[in-house]
Chain length 196, copies 2
């Protein structure tokens, strides 16, 4: 610990969290010390255990404590379908729908040349190997509908189609429960093109 002061060290430590500046970090530190020391101890333990125990699933790359994650090990999942998502949070969102029973591949990122994130950083070679295991028949691209997510889907789609796989993308269209008047034009245009 380079700090001679435990409070400064704590503020510095909290600033490592994304979106936390020096003012929020101070506020968090004061809160924990003044009102929630058990919370501080609990968080310290959780961080320590997570940092040492959690690694990546050998099959789908998501966070797991075992060699292979529970989803990949589940024999009830449909091994002929592989859904590619950017993050474990996206995977959780797809899971919550209850509409998908296949397996996943979690990129843990997206192609972003401006930030220097290339195919190697998001494990595309591992994905291509995983997708061509002979069992997978359809790869569903569920990266985000942002510029980077679309580019990532495009690159993966091209590569997998070249390997003879069926590749689909989540449908674009009008969100459930929305009124056309308030939906952006790009979305309506896509919904028109993809009408069924």
């Amino acid at each position: 610990m380079a700090h001679d002061n435990a409070l400064e060290a704590l503020v510095e430590g909290l600033r490592r969290l994304p979106g936390v500046g020096v003012k929020s970090a101070s506020r968090m530190a004061y809160h924990l010390l003044q009102h929630d020391r058990p919370g501080a101890q609990l968080l310290a333990q959780a961080l320590e255990q997570a940092a040492t125990r959690i690694r990546h699933c050998a099959r789908c790359h998501t966070f797991t404590e075992g060699e292979v994650c529970a989803t990949c090990l589940d024999p009830r999942r449909d091994a002929t379908r592989l859904c590619v998502v950017e993050t474990p949070a996206d995977q959780a969102a797809v899971e919550r729908t209850g509409a998908y029973k296949g397996l996943y591949f979690v990129l843990m990122g997206k192609l972003s040349p401006l930030d220097g994130i290339g195919p190697r950083d998001i494990g595309l070679a591992t994905l291509f190997e995983r997708a061509t295991d002979g069992q997978v028949q359809e790869v569903i691209l569920a990266t985000n509908f942002t510029a980077e997510g679309e580019a990532t889907a495009h690159v993966i789609g091209e590569a997998l189609r070249a390997r003879g796989l069926k590749v689909t993308r989540l449908a674009r269209g009008v969100p459930a429960g929305s009124e056309l008047e308030y939906v952006d034009l790009g979305t309506i245009a896509h919904a028109l093109v993809d009408r069924r």
Copy 2:
């Protein structure tokens, strides 16, 4: 650890931080695990050390690792003046001005009857004892200019004046660098009344 899952435990732990909901906590957990495991270890250590080492200064109530904080121990500080602030962050703000060389008393809160925070919770008895040590000649009330801060200043001021001490309050007025057109009316009215 009640969780069978280190990732869930980490998200739960991060939610103990003020202003962090389940979405931010997940984002923080993913960030630490994917991009900054040394940061997670460092934060765990800092939390552990802060929670065990930091206590309250016996004289001014601020956070310190010793029996008495460095400011209270500094012989160059003017022991005849005592500045009362709500939090260590407020104390740091006053210190940064470089315009104050006296000592402090940190309430670690403010009177807030609606939240059940009374005189005992912010150590007013300790403050009254501290202020009547025979050395202190002036108590400067630097609680915030909010409803609760004003009420706290009022209660402390009444009590200390009754004990024969000189009590002052930070001046209210137009902030440095501001244009009158954009200053709220209450502030201008105060600045008029307190003109000098």
